[in-house]
Amino acid sequence: MKHFIQLIIIQFKEFYREPGALFWSFIFPILISAGLGIAFNNDQAHEYKKIAIVISEEAEKDSIWNNIFSNTKLSQENGYQTHSKTIKNYSNGETTYNFIKTDMDNAVILLKRGIISLILTQKDGKIDYLFDAHNSEAKLLFLEISSISNNSKLVSENEVISPLTKIGTRYIDFLIPGLIAMGIMSSVLWGISYGLIEKRSKKLLRRMVATPMRKSYFLLANIVSRLVLTLLDTLFLIIFAHFAFDIQIQGSIFGLILVILSGNFAFMGISILIASRTSNPQVGNGFISAITMPMMVLSGIFFSYQNFPSWAIPVIQTLPLTTLTDGVRSIFIEGAGILQVLKSILILSGIGIVTFTIGLKIFKWY
């Protein structure tokens, strides 16, 4: 028992003395959520949008531009002649459209830099809209400008718009559960796998098992210390999200704890499996990246995986990160109880049991 406690103490020391460790596991998830939360939680009263206009002096006088240039303020901004027009927008605030006059070459550069997403020019006496039809922001801007140009109201008399600000429906509500799941995955995989592989590569693992140290204590110490750190991570992120964005847990807290524990268990099994044979930290690095990167893209952390082709969705849904994310998310924003997340808990525990069993069976101590 004494040596189990020593092993745990060493694990914690190893963790907090690594300068990057605190940053990556505690500060980084907060920075992501703060950054994305602010970017997408834009309830600013006043929005600014930039559009490039490429036309000649005389074309500007053409009547097709009348609606766009009426009631605009002319100014010089960053050396460009800019027409600004301010209109009420959907969220009861205002939007200012800044039409920047420039030439085509420069407009393309502005587009490439992401400063604008729409270019207006004139072709055969008509207004020509140039934009990427796959870019939904650009498409929206096109509709807005087009309605200005046609002098039609975006919202007619028999329509109203009510901004949806109900808790649980914002992007940040979608994002935070994803970040919690991602945090668990990276903390567990990097913490456990990398630590074990490094000890094997240093021949420290075999040095330790050449003593009367109990192997089970050694692995357990790895797991317990990592679990404590990961739970702290998760708690920290939830508290931050609660105070910064008013995130609420709408469903069963007990269910959430079970989902998070089974998620930890699944990723711990995967870590043991990854770390079971190799003694080359670079190979380990590769393994971990090869597992985490695709899941970060596929598992619906930042955007819904429903955008992937329908044949891929059942596969994506059984990935451990997806299962964990969906479970956590449904408790946070759909008010799910234990029964609704039981499937997630079972899948994650199953993954954990299988990977642990194989990992321990083939584990190379020497």
């Binding site: 004494k2 040596h3 406690i5 020593q6 092993l7 060493i10 020391k13 190893e14 003395r17 690594e18 000890k199 240093k202 021949k203 420290l204 075999r206 040095r207 330790m208 050449a210 003593t211 009367p212 140290m213 020497y366």
Partner: protein, 311 residues
Amino acid sequence: MAEKNLIIKASNIYKSFKQVKAVNGVNLEIHSGEFLALLGPNGAGKTTMIEMIEGIQKPDSGEILIKNKKWDNHSHELQKILGISFQETRFIDKVTVWETLKLFASFYNLPNSRIEEIIDLIDLREKLKSYTENLSGGQRQRLALGVALLNKPEILLLDEPTTGLDPTARREIWSILHKLKSEENTSMILTTHYMEEAEQLCDRIVIMDSGKILTQGTLDELLSHSKSSEIIEFELNTDFEKFNFESKEIFEQTKNDKTKKVTLFVKSIVDILPKILNYLKENNLTAKNLICRRLTLDDLFISLTGRRLID
């Protein structure tokens, strides 16, 4: 020595890796309190042999008995009485010397007073609070030795404890081991490719090459069993072919193409040197850097294998 003093007995040990016969029929016996050197060049099979004794590798065939026990069914007992240091072990980077010793001491359930004793023995008191990543090579090896000695092992197994260290650091390790020999009844197997280390530290020397034991004995036995016991060396400024001195008193001569060095293994320098000098003079040959010295293990190894211990 009596059978009951036999502490390790390895019989007919074979171990291959794919095509390589790493250990090829080795018999080894170590008695209680004996310091034994496994001396041999890189790839001789020293690490493989010592790791089989440590229970870390399994022989393909043959039997290893440590205090009459086998690894198969007494591993826990054996782990308690062995002290091990691998060819190269690095400890956890950001853990201090004290913490490293404390961790390993906890595996044996040892009190802090034992850690204190070890710290004095390995002379790392000023480094107690240093992270292991900040230790020099010699300090790191001393820590590894300290870890190996924590449990007052009956048998100490050290794989190349001084390889890569500078002469001062090497001597520090030696002095720790000398102290150990005079104060405790520890048996030790040490592998090395430094003949000086084997000569300085060990009662008995086993010379290994290509998985086999070439010869073994005390230093005196090894050197006196060899037919020659003295060496004459010189460089020629012309072709070797011109030097064709034959004599019954020269047991062996080697000529190194690269260094232009001629090495003669002789029984008695005093008897033969005048004849050689005469021969050189008569044949108009000029010898440079002529050296007369006693036979060393390195020379013995050359005469056994045609190669040097360290290239």
